[in-house]
Structure formats: C-alpha cells, structure tokens
C-alpha cells in the first residue's frame, strides 16, 4: 500500500507537472517500465496504474474545458473550411469570335461560430473571404478571391449573422443575415453561397416514415427611400423526406417565391440577363433603361430519389467490390415564372453516385447535372455564378468528381459547358463557354 501511494504521488507529480508543462503519456509509461524492470511493480500493476492515470488525465481535461470558461464559450462551436482553386475559363468572348482562355488561382476561407444563448435561442455568425462591392454579381454569390492585383491582401467580409429561436422541437424562427437556403437538389436556381437577409419560420412534423417540413420566408432584396417600397421575396416551401424502405428514400418539395416590387426597378448583383427595356412608366414618354420589365412569381417543384447500396447484390455475386457503391441518386427540378407568358420556364436534372461521405482516402462521388433556364425563368441575381457567370437564358452541362485525400480533406474537379440561348449577356449569341475548376478542400 505504501509502495502504491509513493508511486501514485510520483506519477501525480509528473501529471501535474513542475511548472505546469503539458503531460506526456510517454513519461508515465517510461517510469512504470522502469519500476517493473526493478521489480517494484508487477506488469499487471503497471498496466492498471498507467491506464487509469491516462484515463483520469483525459477526464480532467474534459472537465477543465467546461469549469473555467464562461458558459457562452462552453456552448460555442467553431468550424470552418478552406479551399484553393485553379480555374480555367475557355470560350469566345468577342464579336470577332476569338477564343481566349482565362487562368486563375482562387482562394476561399470561411470561419463560423454557433453559440447557445439559452436552451431555446442560438446565435450564429461567420466571416469569409469575399467582396462587399454590391455592383458585382459576385458579391452575394461567391466567397472566392482571385490571385491578382499585385499580391494585394484579400478582404474578409461578414458572411452571416443570425439568431434562431426554437420554442419547440418542431418550430423555429430565424432572423438576420442567415446561413439558410430552402432545400433544392441543385444550385441552378439559387447559388449555394447566398446568405439571405430577413426571416424564416420553419415547421416540421414526423408522420410515420415521413419527415414533413414547411418553411415560410421573407427576404429583403433592396431597401430604398421611404417614397418607394422595398424589393422583397416572400417564399413558402412545403415538402417531405420519406424513407420508402431501409435503402430507398424520396425527398420532394413544392416552392413558391413571390418577388415583390421588382418590376420596374433595378437590383444590385444582377447579371442583366432578365428582360429589361423597353419599359415605360404608364403615362410617361421617357424610357427607363436597365429596369426589370417583368415581375417574378416562381413556382418550383423538386424531387430527389436516393438508393443505398444499389449494386451490393451484384458486387457480392461477382466479387467486384468496386461495384458496391454506397449511394445512387436521381434528382430534378422545374422552374416556372407565372408572371411572364414566354421564356419563363427552366429545369435541371441529373444523377450522382459514389460514397455517401467523402471522409477518408479513396472515398469518391460523381455528379452530373443538365440544366436549361430561359431568360425570365429565374431572377438574375440568384443563379449559380459558375454557370455562364450566373446568367439566365442558358443551357448546358455540369460534371463533377470528388476524391477523398484523408480525413477532412478532398479534391474536387468540376467541368461546366454552357451556351447562351436567349439572354443578352454576350453579344455573340450561342457562344459556349467551358469552365474547369480543380479544388483542394479542407474543413476543420
């Protein structure tokens, strides 16, 4: 007993550390090994003492994380991601039909925090690389910064800042500049980097094997002087995520977006491909150039079918393990702007297959999407900025391949091939462009 107490005191001294330096498990192991060699301890006693000491240190570190920090820090979760990209833009960009290439290096950094205010309220905020130049179509739809301008430093912007009140498990109200977008299987209609400003009421209910959801949203597009009304979008999305079987799932939603006070005005971040002039204020002879000619009231149904281990039986029968892919999915969406009579529809459809998560070396995913959006099917401040620089009136293909390099890091290659069908972005009609992106992604 006396021997054990002496040894524990010695280990305790090392563990606490003269000068409070960090403990190394190896030091304890070395001491115990010496004590076994000298016959002071048996091998079993050494295993017991060493293991229990390490467990105690681990538990005290976990306790220590919480005992000395303020509660809001204890409840805070931080995360982020970093991406470095090579991008090639290839296409005819002039009336003379000259093909040119643009090669760019780009970088993106995003850092975010979530913290609990109390049991029902949380606050989230995030900063990212980006631009606040609201005249650029990139400002809302991209966090990339290019390697350019003589090694100049890059800006960090407020990406999102919002609060979320969840009085019940089935209801929550969010407000601010939000890290939120309604569900859709592709980013054709709404770029994934957009962080809308306004409020969202989310309702959900589990009904048998189905998870029902209903999102009601109101976002501000522009805020103007008191004499005119703000441009807003009011939206509602109802849908269900249904487990048909253990391996088959179906997610579908119907959404309606009413873009209020857009007709007859201009919006920042526009690519200018929706119909503009000629438009005149009734009773006036003056033309107002650059203003939206039509309103936008968009209905969009969307569906995604997911199949887990679709070829497992074939893989097992043939012994070809490469056929045993974890997930196969098919998806589609349709857009219809009810406020116009022509050139107001679009669609996107595609498939994806591979591993469900890219979280280790060798995990992979492939995805293909074909999309077509007529010039007034979608408001031109929203579409994915990689597809023909975020314009409407285009059609084309996107293929992507992701490959896991290890935990929290992966490579992605994406290829976009789009042509202009009826928009005014390029004076050279039907000028197809090819964009290739090679990304090295990391998250933490």
């Amino acid at each position: 007993m006396k021997k054990l107490v002496t040894i524990l005191l010695l280990i305790g001294f090392i563990a606490v550390g003269a000068g409070n330096r960090p403990v190394y498990a190896g030091e304890i192991d070395l001491l115990l090994q010496k004590l076994v060699e000298k016959g002071v301890l048996t091998a079993g006693e050494a295993q017991q003492i060493g293991t229990e000491t390490k467990e105690q240190i681990k538990a005290e570190i976990a306790q220590g994380k919480y005992s000395s920090l303020p509660e809001w820090v204890q409840n805070m979760k931080m995360k982020g991601d970093f991406r470095v990209r090579y991008q090639l833009d290839h296409g005819k960009t002039s009336d003379a039909g000259v093909t040119s290439d643009r090669n760019r290096g780009r970088v993106r950094l995003r850092l975010g925090w979530d913290t609990k205010v109390n049991d029902k309220i949380m606050v989230g905020a995030g900063i990212a690389t980006g631009t606040t130049d609201y005249t650029s179509y990139d400002a809302a739809r991209s966090n990339n910064q290019s390697f350019e301008k003589g090694l100049a430093k890059k800006a960090l912007v407020l990406d999102y800042a919002y609060a979320k009140y969840s009085p019940f498990a089935w209801a929550s109200l969010m407000g601010g500049k939000m890290k939120y977008l309604p569900w859709r299987p592709t980013d054709v209609m709404i770029d994934n980097d957009i962080t809308p400003e306004g409020a969202v009421l989310q309702l959900s209910k589990k009904l048998g094997k189905a998870n029902l959801f209903l999102d009601n949203m109101a976002f501000v597009l522009t805020e103007t002087e008191p004499t005119t009304h703000n441009a807003m979008v009011y939206g509602i999305q109802g849908g269900a995520d249904y487990a048909l079987t253990d391996n088959l799932s179906l997610k579908s939603a119907l959404s309606y977006y009413d873009f209020s006070n857009v007709k007859g005005r201009a919006l920042d971040g526009s690519t200018g491909t929706n119909t503009r002039d000629p438009y005149q204020v009734p009773g006036s002879t003056a033309a107002k150039s650059g203003l939206y000619k039509y309103g936008y009231k968009i209905v969009t149904p969307a569906v995604e079918l997911g199949i887990k281990n679709p070829l497992k039986a074939i893989a097992n029968a043939t012994g070809l393990s490469m056929l045993d892919i974890e997930k196969l999915s098919f998806f589609g969406e349709y857009y219809d702007n009810l406020a116009v009579h022509a050139k107001g529809t679009g669609f996107a459809g595609g498939f994806g297959f591979g591993n469900e998560k890219i979280d280790a070396w060798g995990k992979w995913q492939v995805q293909y999407v074909y999309s077509m959006t007529e010039k007034d099917s979608i408001l031109d401040i929203l579409p994915d900025s990689d597809r023909y620089v975020g314009t409407t009136g285009i059609r084309g293909h996107k293929g992507s391949f992701q490959w896991g390099l290890g935990k929290n890091t992966w490579l992605q290659c994406a290829l976009f091939r789009f042509e202009n069908i009826n928009n005014s972005y390029s004076t050279f009609r039907r000028a197809p462009t090819t964009v290739m992106q090679v990304d090295w992604n990391m998250k933490f």
């Binding site: 079993g44 295993q47 017991q48 229990e52 976990a62 306790q63 919480y66 281990n309 097992n316 393990s321």
Partner: protein, 270 residues
C-alpha cells in the same frame, strides 16, 4: 442486569426494524467481452453477500457508456477507453466517468481449425479486413474465399480491433457482422474459410487463434505489450466507485476475483 439486557435487546430489535430491509441493487451494462467476468463475479459476490443485487447486461461498450452517461446504469463495462465525444457528453450531463481497470485482454484473430494458417502479420490482417486480399491462397493457405466476420459498431472489441489492428481503416462492406464475441466464434467455427476476432476468453477448441506478428496471445505477452492487439478492460462508474459498486469492483480486483478473471480466459492484473 437482566433488566438492562432485556432493554438492550429491545433497543436492538427496534433499531433493526427501523432500518429498511431492502437489498442494495446496482446495474452493470455494456461490453460483451467483459460480460462473462461481470456475470461470474456477480454470481459469486451475491452468494457471499445475500443483501446485494447485481444485474448484469451486455449490449456493447458503447451502449454501456451511453447508459452510464444517461444515468440508467451504475457500472459501464467497456473493452475500450471512453471516447472524447462521450466524455464531453458526460460533462454536459453532469456525469464524471471514472475508469477502473479490472483485467487485460488480447484480441485474438481466429480461423477455422482446418485452416493450415498458424500466423499472420498485422499487415496481412489489415489486407484481409479491408478487402485487399480475398483468398486464403494469397496468404499461403488453401484456395478458398476468405469469409470475413466482424462485430457491429457498438462493440468495444470492434473499436479496439479497428484501432490496434487496422489503423482506423474501414472493414470491407461484405463482412458478416455479429453482435457478440460468442457469435463471432460460433460463425468462424462453422465456416472453413472464416476469419474473425474475439477476446482471449472466447478462444476454445472450436476455433484456432493465430499468432500476430509472430507473437502468441498469452498473459505474459499481453501484460508486457509484446502482443500487438492487447487492451485493458474497464468498469466505468460515475465518479469514484462507492457503495455496492465499489465493493463489487474491489472484489474483482481481489486475488479471488482476479483468479476468476483468469478462469474466464482473460489476463489478470495480479
């Protein structure tokens, strides 16, 4: 004096009536590796302590630790160390898991007795379990498809094997998953091309344990860390063990309890 004795007897009788005559009861839950130790020790302990009631359940190390964190068991039996995420959850639940090492174990790689393979390297074991090798002839054995048997993800044996033998690599998706050490041993014993892994206490004449990196699993090789797939076995309590839980764990760590550990096929600490 007689009167005094009668008064004393009456007082003692009243005191015994005042003390509630209920048995103290604890629940031990978790690892199927630790289960035979816990069950045998509980049986012997309760025979010697009629007032004690110890209920022992399996379910896997993850299940036991989760129950300790939720407060639905008193002792979590575990064949792996508690994870950081579990510790964090315990802290937010106001629980303080404390580890008591009760034995050591070697995770043995087992094959069918008819298999002529007697030894495998860790590299070969990893290749078999990750799908890089699929036929015994690639390892110098018979021309027969390897049937890989593994454990489900709530198992501490699965976690320990994955860390110590596979370096965190994922088990091939066509592996047959079993819910307990016993089930793994049973499956391999009935499958000539089978390979599995079980705690040392589950190796019997119906299966054959192979040497790993040239080392046979034994008390000496496990305690000295020579055997590469050795691990401690834990009983976790909420804070330092107290009451019946302390008595039970102290019994397991006693010479009599450690003999019982070795009788069950594990490695005692004494």
């Amino acid at each position: 004096m007689r009167v005094f004795g009668k008064i004393l007897l009456l007082a003692l009788l009243m005191c015994s009536l005042a003390v509630p005559c209920h048995a103290e009861k604890i629940v031990a839950e978790g690892s199927t590796t630790v289960l035979p130790i816990a069950q045998k020790a509980a049986e012997v302990f309760m025979n010697s302590n009629p007032g004690a009631e110890i209920s022992v359940r399996g379910g896997g190390s993850g299940v036991g630790i989760a129950s300790l964190i939720d407060g639905t068991c008193d002792i979590a039996d575990s064949s792996r160390s508690i994870k950081d995420a579990e510790l964090d959850k315990a802290v937010t639940n106001g629980r303080a898991p404390k580890a008591s090492v009760i034995a050591m174990d070697g995770i043995c790689v087992i094959v069918h007795p008819s298999n002529n393979i007697n030894a495998l390297s860790k590299k070969q074991i990893k290749e078999v379990y990750t799908g890089a090798v699929s036929n015994w002839k690639q390892l110098g054995g018979p021309d027969e498809k390897i049937v890989v048997v593994s454990r489900d993800s709530s198992s501490g044996t699965f976690e320990a094997f994955g860390t110590l033998a596979l370096d965190g690599a994922k088990v091939r998706p066509d592996a047959l998953l079993q819910a307990s050490n016993q089930a793994v041993a049973s499956t391999v014993s009935r499958t000539p091309g089978g390979i599995g892994y079980v705690g040392l206490g589950y190796v019997s004449s119906v299966v054959k344990a192979v040497d790993v990196d040239g080392v046979k699993a034994s008390k000496q090789t496990v305690l000295s860390n020579q055997y590469p797939i050795g691990r401690p076995l834990f009983m976790y309590t909420n804070g330092a063990p107290k009451g019946l839980a302390k008595q039970f764990i102290d019994y397991i760590l006693s010479p009599e309890g450690q003999k019982l550990v070795e009788d069950e096929g594990f490695v005692g600490l004494k």
